[in-house]
Symmetry: C2
């Protein structure tokens, strides 16, 4: 769980319903989406914003790409540092086999070829139909989940572990979604763990993975209680799933499932490996049951953006009464940019050079840096800090003419707004220390 | 460049043509592919091996997935630690716009919908054609490169850098390949940098990036000279590309281009952003030219597998004359598994427990561990070492009853075959030190 130093500000984590007329109500989906565009998380455009709103992959800006990368890294890390035996795999997007348990199958079709057939005047109606059908039959299917790929990989993996159960196959990446109400197929980034275990332990494993996954989501949240798990009601569970659980995030506009866990028995495994030896060992020989754990990364990104966006109101000290600022308090492990460099007063050319050196040092230490010192437009330091807070940048480093004299610069923290004076030679280690401390909270 | 300690073995990096009749001739493509299957880099199956052979994405096993991951990480690291300004983006696989400069466009089609139309008996030939055409027109196109996505992202990115040139947009992931001779569309993992710079510097940037990329490939190679760059002959350069360079890897069965760099002018950029302000600043205002740098990750993986696979022949000490062993000397940064744990003589249960603790410690330090201590089949330590050498595992840690008494275990290096005695409490730091030293070679 995360802790933050107390702030001398009044925290209104989410504006109340009564002020929903204000354009800044970040508890509604449209202002949040616009905020994501403005702070470089998603690319502009109405269609793009709608994709993200529906929990699908959209075109991400540099910060969104960084957040997605960090989220996938943390997911991978959580699986590979656990004591459970998990192997990563990478299977194909397209396959000659139709997807399992499939909604309408999506095919990848050579459009020129279809157009050619449709244009051939000498073909009769029946010949035309036959030729198009033949072409479509040769077209590969797009995957809609990682499940089929993992089942295909079961046999070599079983050999790898000397038939020892339990073990899991993990994969992340894109899956394609059959056209929904919009009529257009979409794409989604998913995380998938397919877990093979003995039938008598499968229920326990389902609970184990639900606890693990819920803990993982909550670990990165400002308000962990907005993440919760719930059994899927029996009447909504479709065979071959015998029991299901979902992890929900409570968006201000409603609950959405961000991860689903299912107990699927072994019927599909036996179907895919007809006639082969699929028995594993867990004490005694047994055909394993399958537990699937499937997370929605795009929706998870929106959950963390919504969770970490705070509207802070400073009381007093301003002619206009309440002064508002937005801060994106993403967990330090998820924040895509850790440090922004800025110029204070002083000789611009020399200070830029100093920043270049510092930037290189930070980059080599694996710290993602925002080159604020390169900007050419005039903006006050105050304005820039506000901008970096909206981007979720953890630290802003300000160099000024004093730095050229005595080597001292200022490091300002997003979460505490406190400015500390640090020597230029110690800046990288200062920042790395703070980031890794936050990681292990 | 990499250095290895001398070995008391006769290194035959690649068997000569004269012994090509031997099934072990790893200088030929089929034995190399079979080796990749046997050592868990790619999944079994003739079709899968053929995909990999053609430089396309295939279904990767756990080690292949690790190698792919490490390669993509290193690519990303090389861009983000350079002093050049590069932003990562993530664009969509599917788009309503046909791919630029396109070979036959691939569409993602709802197959059930087409089948429904084809099955409607009341439709005349013309109505049928019209309905299928309308459906296909609504179907999104699959991307064949990252170029279009980067051009689309140019405008918000230009705002991000305050119109300051040069800068680049980087993306990695899957692209789809139009059907080739096989008649079936394929998928490939690509790395893409699209670099925007002033027209007068674009030629220099093309050379800069060619040098950088060649250096990058060579950095991970045992035989750097097998990587080379070459100008694309003018007669093979198609407009709008005005100059092109390729980086080749010399496979034993022939040269293959693994990365392509092109100078593309600004016609496509202007076409995509018709009427918008696309001028940047580099001293003066200018419409940037575009340099594209596109690498083939799947083929790159095969290049490094081919480069690092050595057949070593030990002279003497064996009844059968020459003893051969295969070692996959992947660069430490690329090797997917860094450490394997093994049991020597001693009480199995206690030693397993010791290994569990050690494994957890190594995993938490971010070291990828192979749990050899869990295997249930009888195999000699010698056999296991040979197996780990084929998998490219950097270190094998052997615990035995001595370890339970005095805490000492043996760490055996893949590259030197030397066994060192290390205390169990220092094993993780010993291994981390060696890996990071190798990283910085």
């Amino acid at each position: 769980m995360r802790r933050y130093l107390p702030e001398l500000v009044l925290i209104l984590q989410r504006p109340r319903r009564c002020c929903s007329s204000a354009p800044q109500n970040l508890g509604q989906v449209e202002p949040l989406l616009q905020f994501c565009v403005d702070s470089y998380y998603i690319s502009p455009g109405q269609t793009n914003m709608e994709l993200f709103q529906h929990g699908l992959s959209c075109s991400y800006g540099p910060l969104g790409m960084g957040l997605r990368r960090n989220l996938l890294d943390q997911w991978w890390r959580s699986l590979t540092t656990s004591s459970d035996q998990v192997f990563g795999i990478k299977t194909l997007n397209c396959s000659q086999n139709p997807p399992l348990g499939g909604a309408g199958p999506l095919g990848m079709v050579d459009l020129d070829n279809v157009a050619q057939i449709l244009g051939r005047k000498e073909l009769s109606r029946e010949e035309l139909i036959q030729q198009v059908q033949e072409l479509l039959q040769r077209s590969p299917f797009m995957r809609t989940s990682f499940f089929q790929g993992a089942l295909d990989q079961f046999e070599p993996s079983l050999a790898l572990v000397n038939r020892r159960l339990p073990f899991g196959l993990a994969e992340t990446g894109l899956c394609f979604q059959p056209p929904g109400s919009s009529g257009c197929p979409g794409e989604a980034t998913l995380t998938s763990l397919v877990w093979f275990c003995s039938p008598r332990t499968s229920g326990q494993w389902l609970d184990h993975w639900t606890r693990q996954r819920l803990k993982w989501w909550r670990n990165f949240a400002l308000s962990p209680s907005n993440f919760s798990s719930r059994e899927v009601p029996e009447e909504e569970t479709e065979a071959p799933v015998s029991r299901g659980l979902s992890i929900f995030y409570r968006f201000p506009w409603g609950q959405k499932p961000i991860e689903t866990l299912s107990l699927r028995g072994n019927a599909e495994l036996l179907h895919v490996h007809k006639g082969s030896k699929v028995q594993g060992r867990d004490g005694r020989k047994t055909v394993p049951h399958v537990v699937t754990v499937t997370g929605k990364v795009d929706l998870g990104m929106m959950a963390f953006l919504s969770d970490s966006l705070q509207q802070l109101s400073k009381v007093g000290n301003s002619k206009h009464g309440l002064q508002q600022r937005k801060v994106l308090k993403l967990h330090p492990a998820l924040a895509p940019v850790k440090v922004a460099l800025e110029l204070g007063r002083g000789a611009t050319a020399e200070l830029r050079q100093l920043c270049e050196g510092l930037m290189q040092e930070l980059k080599e230490a694996g710290v993602c840096v925002w080159p604020g010192h390169l900007k050419t437009q005039a903006a006050s330091l105050e304005q820039m800090m506000a901008k970096y807070d909206e981007m979720g940048v953890l630290f802003t480093v300000v160099v000024s003419d004093g730095t050229l004299e005595n080597g001292l610069l200022q490091v300002r923290s997003r979460d505490t707004t406190i400015k500390e004076t640090v020597h230029v030679s110690e800046t990288t280690s200062y920042i790395c220390r703070h980031i890794s401390a936050a990681h292990s909270l």
